[in-house]
Amino acid sequence: MKRREFIKYGMCGLTAVALGTIPLPPFFSRKAEAANLTVNLSMEEALVEMIDGTRVFFWLFQLQGSAFPSIPGPVIFAFTGDRVTINVTNNLDEVHEFQIIAAGRNRRNLNTGPIQPGQTATLSFIAPDGGTYMYLDPRNAPVNRVLGLHGAFVVLPAAARVVPPPLLGNPNPQPVFPGPILPNGNAITPYTRPTAQVQQLFNDLGAQPFFEVRPGEPGQFWVPVRPANQPIPDPLRHALEDRLLPANELARLAAIEPFLFRTRIWVFNAVDPFFNAIAQAGGNAEPGGGIDPAVFRANFLGRYFLTNGKSGAFSSLEDTAPDTVLAAFIGEPHVVRILNAGPPTFSPHLHANHFYVLAVNNVVLESVTHPDTMTVGTVEKDIPFRRLQADPLGPTNRLFLNGGSRVDWLVPYIRPPDIPGNRNILLQDLIPEELATVLQVKGLEVAQSPLEYPMHSHVEIDQTAAGGNYPQGLITHFIFLGELINGVEVPFPEPVIM
């Protein structure tokens, strides 16, 4: 069986389950002007299956109209300047709150204040500068957040405003996309106010020899959404065309897909089911509720480690985590937005490419370093911006050294630079033996093509599940499907597997 055909294989078992994928962005801007956008969220109870099958109780956000709550909460997209209204209904048994960190004026938090059970609160604001924001329940921190009440709020700069490409079953709208280069000659970045270095990096992606696929074959510029003339990338295309997912999941993927083009959002978390069980039994972190936030912080022992709600193999394979796995061609740079909702500090390490650290907690960095491993800290340890400005190291260096709870990377997607041999030669011609290698796994055959690498947190404790089971923790995969040849995506040859 050829690997690309796997999706035809085994279609049973797809009953009405929510898959923990990043769900529907609730709105699009359909005009070139700022839009009015409304999001209706509720807070709900749910059981979430961990990688070993254990069912753990969570408090989760649910998008109105969606069949299931989602872990993490739905990604909310906006463009800078949009007028955003978020209505949050508390369907849980105790008081909760809703906050977006540093999304207000002067990086102030936006907060609804307490929401009584059964009540709805509203947050109305103008979408801030482009960047990666976290929404969460800040109450009794970190308990309510870690027990599931968190999600990503992504703001794209107004310059990137588009009408999205055709949605499923909607054949004819004319998508409008400004292209990767703005009228002023600069490339689009994720930011409203990029630093000179970040701007230069994005300008250089499609222009400089060190980002070339091979000499004479330029790499591409970054684009924040899928341009109209681009096909839907694998494996989302399979999921959409083959209707392999439940209808509501398909709709979510179809709607979010334009925004996930050349972008990944990784929401990290950790789970100590001891505390979830108290909540399931009716407890909470209010005074006398059975979960003392101080006890929680002193005793939290992570047992499962999640990326977008999944672990290990389930967060690493193209078919089980299409919105998490990086799978693209050499020459196609990607932005990765990392958010950490958990109590641990992680140290994510990318194999095969060093990445660029663009921003930490939406502070766009003035020195764009190029590491292979970077600290992603916790909300509790985020350093207030005003204190950073007075830091003897300066904001850029302090954030590079310490990290923050939100870190943006640029993954250049260059040919892994330490593959020996002539760089003028197509990679498929340089390593034919490896690409043709097929190894036995318990009687089944697995090809080495395409080229696959891990991204994992290097604390390694976080690579476990239930205290063992390496590598079933905080991990996903970084896949090179092929390389650009004359600007066309050419997959690596695949050996024929009998």
Binding site: Y9, A321, H349, T373, T375, N397, P416, E460
Partner: protein
């Protein structure tokens, strides 16, 4: 009404072979694949077991209560003194094509050359390629000078903790501006050249974008959980059931590897004695490592690699790697000391080299006495140009990655241990 249930993924996964590969990596031997003529060859063997003698004060505070600690190391089989912890340093030269001939004493392992970026089969990650049973020749280039390391990537949570790692330094070619410095690769401890874009730094070589250094120190602060070191090779590994790879039974090896409680603290294989602390009185504070601190001659590097001595007017290069599972907080010198650190590179990528993919960053100064942090596997390279003689303290806190001190003081971080060394500056 039953609660909504969110499943862990598609059941069954569509791509059974890939799923199975993730749970039960294939094995392989031989290599190199797609060979290119090597310019450098190294040999390594996994995993040799050594017992590192511990100072009695260390043994007294370990949970396992042994007077030595079992470590697993990656041996250099060509070197009669190649059974050290950390494993013997590998030095290559920028532009080298390296063949790493790796043998295995028993069971399956891999070597991942952390920060080096070759093809997956040379990257040493089992579930994205294979685990090696017999000899395998890894092939990779070392195209950017800087600080790397190598380690086993099987059951890494245990195998990295057990000591299966060593430093990998890629040196720039010698530009020939200092007759006293030999050809690259440079001797460990110095002198040598290092990539750095510091046009005003003494000895900076334009074009080559390197500066000379006289003394090299290697700081690899780490810590052991002595209970982990009692465990067997495949402790709590996932099972692999080929009939149903996502059977929950494959992921139910209830273990203790998430409960990391370090009780032995050291820097680059130098185990200092404990001067304060026990299990009920955290943190454990170790004695200051000095140039004459005794190390085990059979298994450990000399303490001078950790506690360097440098003359006024000379340049000291420190390569720093967090090889522990803690957040490490460093303080070099005291506020106001004439010992500022100039950070020139991270993770094998020098800052600010014009006309390269590294041109978007700049070297920066950490003023003496300023605390800073790194998490696991991160590296930075720092230069010092001391101007006054003295003994300058280096203090490293090993901080829990999740937990706070206790329920009474929930804000304060949980510091498991404190290690210390010194930089000695002589006239």
């Amino acid at each position: 009404m039953p609660l909504p249930l969110i499943r862990r993924g598609i059941e069954p996964p569509q791509d059974i072979p890939m799923f199975l590969k993730f749970v039960c990596p294939p094995t392989f031997g031989g290599g190199p694949l797609d060979p290119q003529p090597p310019t450098r060859e190294v040999s390594r063997k996994l995993d040799t077991m050594i017992d590192i003698p511990l100072p009695p004060s260390v043994a007294a505070v370990t949970r396992a209560g042994r007077d030595d600690i079992r470590a697993w190391i990656i041996e250099d089989p060509d070197d009669p003194n190649g059974r050290t912890f950390p494993s013997p340093i590998i030095r290559t030269v920028e532009g080298d094509i390296v063949w790493g001939d790796v043998g295995f004493a028993f069971n399956t392992h891999t070597i991942h050359w952390h920060g080096i970026e070759p093809t997956p089969m040379n990257d040493g990650v089992g579930h994205t390629s294979f685990e090696a049973t017999a000899n395998f020749i890894y092939q990779f280039a070392t195209n950017t000078a800087g600080t790397y390391f190598y380690h086993c990537h099987k059951n890494t949570v245990l195998h990295f903790e057990m000591g299966l790692y060593g430093m990998l330094v890629v040196d720039p070619p010698n530009p020939g501006t200092r007759p006293d410095i030999p050809a690259a690769p440079f001797p460990t401890g110095g002198p040598g050249f290092v990539s750095a874009f510091l046009p005003n730094f003494p000895g900076f070589v334009p074009g080559a974008n390197v500066v000379p250094y006289d003394v090299e120190a290697i700081w690899v602060p780490d810590e052991f959980d002595s209970i982990c070191h009692e465990l067997g090779h495949d402790a709590f590994m996932q099972k692999c059931d080929n009939n149903n790879p996502n059977d929950p039974n494959n992921f139910t090896q209830d273990g203790i590897l998430n409960d990391f409680i370090p009780d032995i603290f050291f820097i680059t294989g130098v185990f200092p004695r404990v001067v304060q602390g026990n299990l009920n009185n955290l943190p454990i504070i170790t004695a200051v490592i000095r140039p004459n601190t005794r190390t085990d001659p059979d298994t450990g590097p000399p303490a001078t690699l950790v506690a360097p001595t440098v003359r006024v007017g000379q340049t000291l290069l420190v390569r720093l790697l967090n090889a522990g599972y803690t957040i490490q907080e460093y303080r070099i010198g005291r506020p106001g000391d004439a010992l500022d650190a100039t950070v020139i590179a991270t993770d094998g990528r020098p800052f600010g080299i014009p006309g390269t993919e590294n041109q978007y960053s700049s070297p920066f100064v950490i003023p003496a006495g300023t605390r800073f942090r790194l998490t696991t596997a991160r590296r930075i390279d720092m230069l010092f140009r001391p101007t006054v003689p003295g003994i300058f303290p280096v203090v490293i806190k090993h901080i829990d990655w999740t937990k706070t001190q206790n329920a009474v003081v929930p804000i304060r971080e949980l510091v498991w241990g404190i290690t210390r060394t010194i930089i000695t500056v002589v006239p």
